[in-house]
């Protein structure tokens, strides 16, 4: 069914075993393999409010059914949220990006997905509508486990809200040793902010692919307070990221390999986002 508004969608989701359908790149795959048998698919493609992008001075709100392609090409995202733009432009292949949505990229909660680390490092929050009203959850806290989120079956992700700080710099790196179109073995997003004097005021780091959910690394905050954090300090944070991660062995690498690569790619992302004193 294709409800015309969020209230109708929520009502439909109240029914037993009804499932949200957005772009359908994952739902189509799960249906094709007979891994799910929902009673009703509640398609969000006819709800105009979910397709909106709203830019304010210090934030951008992206509706849940904005596609990953649209996100990657949005001029404000490209200029002010380069980590998010790069992550969106790395999702799968052009056919997936044309169809997959921002809400699906969050609701699917596969820890190898590209957008969650970039959004988490950017301090984004997810807007969730339910029968009791709307609530907000940090992207970093949305997933609770492999393909599990805090979104209840009768709730809906309506959008994501991303701060647009001044003098921020973001980097997203993706380590894909298999085919270029494959999932990353490890991905790392780093975002730094600087004050008017060039001093780093905040650094955040989030990794994908190395645990059941996106991994945020609070030690990154220790890199603030100087114009040019030292190589040693950056390494210490990257090593902390390696210790924090909890990867599983699969065809993309053994657990030990992924842990080692997490530290390497965390370091590279931090270096790239902190290089050049005072650069905005």
């Amino acid at each position: 069914m294709a409800p015309a508004g969020v209230p109708d969608a929520l009502e439909a989701l109240g029914a037993e075993s009804s499932v949200v359908l957005a772009g359908g790149t994952s739902i189509g795959l799960l249906l094709g393999q007979a891994l799910i048998e929902p009673s009703t698919l509640v398609w969000l493609g006819r709800i105009p409010s979910l397709r909106e992008v709203a830019v304010e001075d210090d934030r951008i709100r992206i509706g849940a059914t904005v596609t990953v392609r649209e996100l990657a090409r949005h001029p404000v995202v490209r200029s002010r949220l380069p980590a998010v733009a790069t992550a969106a432009g790395s999702v799968g292949n052009p056919r997936i990006r044309a169809v997959a949505t921002v809400g699906g990229a969050l609701g699917h909660a596969d820890p190898r997905q590209d957008l969650p680390p970039a959004l988490a490092a950017s301090g984004a929050t997810v807007e969730i509508a339910g029968p009791g009203g709307t609530r907000r959850v940090d992207v970093a806290r949305l997933a609770t486990g492999l393909m599990e989120t805090v979104v209840a079956p009768d709730e809906l992700i309506t959008g994501v809200d991303i701060p647009l700080p001044e003098a921020a710099r973001g980097v997203y790196l993706r380590f894909t040793p298999a085919s270029a179109a494959d999932w990353p073995t490890v991905s790392a997003a780093a975002v730094s902010r600087r004050g008017p004097d060039g001093i780093v005021t905040d650094v955040s780091l989030a990794l994908g692919g190395v645990g059941p959910t996106v991994l945020t690394v609070p030690e990154a905050g220790e890199l603030k307070g100087s114009v040019a954090p030292s190589e040693e300090d950056i390494r210490a944070v990257a090593d902390a990221a390696g210790r924090r991660c909890d990867p599983v062995a699969d065809r993309l690498g053994s657990a030990a390999y992924k842990r080692a690569m997490a530290a390497v790619w965390a370091r590279r992302a931090l270096q790239a986002c902190l290089e050049g004193a005072g650069r905005s």
Partner: protein, 149 residues
């Protein structure tokens, strides 16, 4: 359920299951240029255009095509004969199984990438279209000439 969309420029109306893929619907109409390969979105054999953008029809649920413009390789071969001609000229096929998907991608690349696209961009654009005969070089050349117009 009743499904109405525009197929290769003509209005189309049919009954489809709510969970049918667009590949199934197109092939049931005799449009077998759209192939089914991996069924998980990675090979590109089932590529069609929906509202001018390339999609994997194996993962695209047919009801989501309601009211939209769908073009398959059959329609594009009539609409954009130069794209097919480029594949012939550059011998951009060997066994041919991947060719319809490559042709649809080439047609999309022209508007998505535009003239002046670097070869690296063309290769990046084809990241999800596999050719097991490994004819990539000639496929990239065919796309290059399509994109250059």
């Amino acid at each position: 359920m009743r499904l109405r969309f525009t197929l290769n420029g003509e209005p189309q109306e049919l009954d489809a299951s709510p969970t049918a893929s667009l590949t199934e619907v197109l092939r049931s109409l005799g449009l077998t240029g759209t192939k089914e390969g991996c069924r998980i979105g990675v090979c590109g054999l089932c590529t069609v255009l929906v509202d001018d953008l390339p999609v994997s029809s194996c993962l695209f649920l047919a009801p989501c095509a309601e009211g939209r413009q769908v073009w398959t390789v059959e329609g594009l071969a009539r609409r954009d004969p130069a794209v097919v001609a480029a594949f012939v000229e550059h011998e951009g096929m060997q066994c041919g199984i991947c060719t319809p998907g490559q042709v649809v991608m080439a047609s999309a690349a022209r508007s998505e990438l535009g003239a002046g696209a670097a070869e690296a961009e063309i290769r990046e654009y084809l990241i999800g279209n596999l050719c097991r005969c490994t004819g990539y070089q000639s496929i990239v050349m065919a796309l290059g000439s399509v994109v250059a117009g």
